[in-house]
Amino acid sequence: MSQWLANVIDRASSVNDWLSPVRQEALTRLKSTSWPTRRTEEWRYTSLHALANLTLNEATNSKALAEAPVVSNLNSIDIVFVDGVPATDLTALNLPAGLTIHSLANASEAIQQQASKVFNQVKPDAHLFGLVNDALALQGVFINVAAGVQLEQPIRVVNLVSAGIESHNRVLVNLGANAQATIIEHGAGQGNSMNTAFAEYVIGTEAKLEHYRFALHGEEAIHIGGCHFKMGESSRLNSTIVGYGSQISRIDTDVVHAAEHALAKMNCIYLLGPKEHFDLHSLIEHVVPNGTTEQNARGIVGDKARAVFSGRILIHRDAQKTLAELHNRNLLMSRGAQISTTPALEIYADDVQCAHGATIAEIAEEDLYYLQARGISRKQALIMLNFGFIQELVSQMPNKALAAWLEPLLRERFATMESE
């Protein structure tokens, strides 16, 4: 066990609130969990060395009311956390009918009951940092969208971290039958920080969720989190994850097809510079027949950065007529950059159609030549081709305001990336 984990257990033992039974369970498991090494399959390519002996402070009250990053024309309902502490007065929010947002910290008994139907109901209990989050996330929100309510305004949970601070928070979302919502998890911040952020989504029958997760932390940060989805019958999920990479950045995104005819579309983009590390793990589980999953992850890795992608599609015996596809495409921009990808299929049903593909390549000389022959400089041509590769997924984002905000950010980031 690492010093850091010993500290976590120590701190968590004294927590006492309505989630204490859950926290105790997590603690018991944590105590018997060994610290991941390179031999731990789940952490094969991501070293936790930087975290093992880290000691940071926990923020007790929000220091400065940091401004959430502005996304023009987004017109979202913002819930801001600074270093894990709420900076938004939830009671003062002007919410449309059918939408309720409550803090987990001082939830009434009725809310506790509702939230319990989501808390730890979706997230797998094997994830080490999920357990840490169970034990230590004192703050978080529970978002409930009533059946049949179709929200036009996106909800954005902003999670700002600052140097020297460790924080843990949780997002729980329940989407009633036929409900429709857009939820954005927006993480950002500079400096040497440590943050775990886990989100659980229960998507009701025929409900539609549009989901975004931006992990745009600085290169010194340690960010470990996950977004976990449980699909109801005929529900729809459209999820986009964008990661910058940090000292350690690890996101687990899991989907469980718990009822038939659900459709999950998942895109992921990563763009890594200097020495950044980004690790995306994904587990798509088809438990019942007739589910569909389409996953596309694309990344560009420059300088001395490292990208890890582990995508697993698991089809249970009863999940006949499943359609599942997973594609991971990568561009390596420079010597010293590394990519490890493991697209896995685990299939126990025979009448299914599954495929996965993974490629690692550089931009083809012929493509560059084609553009250069038309008077475009080599540098410009490289940017066009590389960025085009990512932009395809950006343009698939249903929310145009977000796409318009993200594109120049990525383009700017790309322009500063070291390439040969």
Partner: protein
């Protein structure tokens, strides 16, 4: 279709019988004494014994790997006998005529009459019956061109310098649990040496058989292709029906020096166990080759047998422009479990590798492809193409694909594709409409699915492989 298929499944293992030959077998158990006795029986030099003992000491500290998608009762290595030799072999026969007629009859039952094979196929056969090589044919003809093809125990005595130089250089003693065990107790196997610039005049082939109850078979094969040489090696195996699990932990090392080529083909048909998963061979194999400059290593395997298959024939592409290939058909049925694949380690510039893997699972079996493609930082312009397809027949089997892809070179290109599908009712209907019975139809569809791999098999082996697959298919479709 189900009734006919069930009938087909119920078919018994055709090569299942036990030959009644007196054997000289060690008591079960493994300690340094056993290793000393093996080494003594083989009349080995001291350095070989020391090498074995060091392997044994490392093995004792190692843990059995558990990462493969295989489920089996823990193996008690102390209940296995580590040496078994047909008794009548104590005075080595000088020709086939001197061989125990019972042995010859065994081969005849398997359909490999040696005399005929000698003449018709032009194949030199180094027959391994349990642990002692019984007879080696065509030796003289090979010797004319300077090719050495003999049991490894003989090579240790006759060519110690060659063995010393290369043994354990590709698969080190401590490489993994099973390789360490093999290094400690290996009893026999083949040794091949192709001199510089020589193209081996014939396909080299070894037949393996496990016969004695409870004896593990630990083969060790070492093939050295000198600069500019070429060799094609065929390995086939079939084992009699037994109720006890039999352990097989082989090691194969290939050394392909500059501009040489080694083609290694395997048809594996060990006893898979009965429909309840009782019996069957546990097959834990470490196969690896190192390819130097411009060299080529090609692995082709047709895996239809064994209760447990744990096998990853690999290529270390160390030299610039070296080429690695892996073509595999793995068929599992009943309660068979296979976890097989390859590793392609690209170290040199402009190295290329191709992986074509076809997994077919039926019955209650589980079939896993596990592979690694690694592009090292110096592998400029390296290229890999991987295609692994799975075919599921029946709703109680499982097919898995676990590829690991790592790249640390921006000019390397890796492409990986995998699909999983089933034999569709439409396909079957189409075939049946044209007058094919269901078994023929499925056989045809599966054969088509595998054709990319079959065409890589050498001519001499193609007939055998086709026959084996046909038999296995009949019993595997469900």
């Amino acid at each position: 279709m189900s009734e006919q298929i069930e009938q087909a499944i119920a078919r018994e293992y055709e090569a299942g019988f036990v030959s009644d030959i007196e054997s000289d077998t060690f008591e079960p158990g493994l300690d340094e004494d056993v290793i000393r006795r093996i080494s003594e029986m083989k009349q080995e030099p001291d350095w070989m014994l020391e090498w074995r003992l060091q392997a044994f000491r490392s093995w004792q500290k190692m843990a059995e790997p558990d990462w493969a998608k295989l489920g089996y009762e823990p193996i008690d290595y102390q209940t296995i006998s580590y040496y078994s030799a047909p008794k009548s072999m104590k005075d080595r026969p000088k020709s086939l005529a001197e061989v125990d007629p019972e042995l010859i009859r065994t081969y005849e039952k398997l359909g490999i009459p040696l005399h005929e094979q000698e003449m018709l196929a032009g194949v030199a056969v180094d027959v391994v019956f349990d642990s002692v090589s019984v007879v080696t044919t065509f030796r003289e003809k090979l010797a004319e061109s300077g090719v050495i093809f003999c049991p490894i125990s003989e090579a240790i005595r006759k060519y110690p310098e060659l063995v010393k130089k290369y043994l354990g250089t590709v698969v080190p003693r401590t490489d993994n649990f099973f390789a360490a065990l093999n290094s400690a107790v290996f009893t026999d196997g083949s040794f091949v040496y192709i001199p510089k610039g020589v193209r081996c005049p014939m396909e080299l082939s070894t037949y393996f058989r496990i016969n004695e109850l409870n004896t593990g078979q630990f083969e060790r094969t070492l093939i050295i292709a000198e600069e500019g040489s070429h060799v094609s090696y065929l390995e086939g195996c079939t084992a009699p029906m037994r109720d006890e699990n039999q352990l097989h932990a082989a090691v194969v090392e290939l050394v392909a020096l500059d501009d040489s080529e080694i083609k290694y083909s395997t048809v594996q048909n060990w006893y898979p166990g009965d429909e309840n998963g009782v019996g069957g061979i546990f097959n834990f194999v470490t196969k690896r080759g190192v390819a130097e400059k411009n060299a080529k290593i090609s692995w082709t395997q047709v895996e239809t047998g064994s209760a447990i298959t744990w096998k990853y024939p690999s290529c270390i592409l160390r030299g610039d422009n070296s080429v690695g290939e892996f073509y595999s058909v793995a068929l599992t049925r009943s309660r068979q479990q296979a976890d097989t694949g390859t590793k392609m380690i690209h170290l040199g510039k402009n190295t290329t590798s191709t992986i074509i893997s076809k997994g077919i699972s039926a019955g209650n079996s589980s079939n896993t492809y596990r592979g690694l493609v690694k592009m090292g930082p110096n592998a400029d312009g390296a290229r890999n193409f991987t295609e692994c397809d799975s075919l599921l027949i029946g709703d109680t089997c499982a097919a898995h694909t676990f590829p690991y892809i790592e790249s640390a070179n921006p000019t390397a290109i890796v492409e990986h594709e995998a699909t999983t599908s089933t034999v569709s009712d439409d396909q079957l209907f189409l075939c049946q409409q044209r007058g094919l019975d269901i078994e023929k139809a499925i056989s045809m569809i599966v054969n088509g699915f595998c054709k990319d791999v079959f065409k890589e098999l050498p001519m001499e082996f193609a007939v055998e492989a086709g026959k084996l697959l046909e038999i296995s298919l009949e019993g595997s479709v469900g």
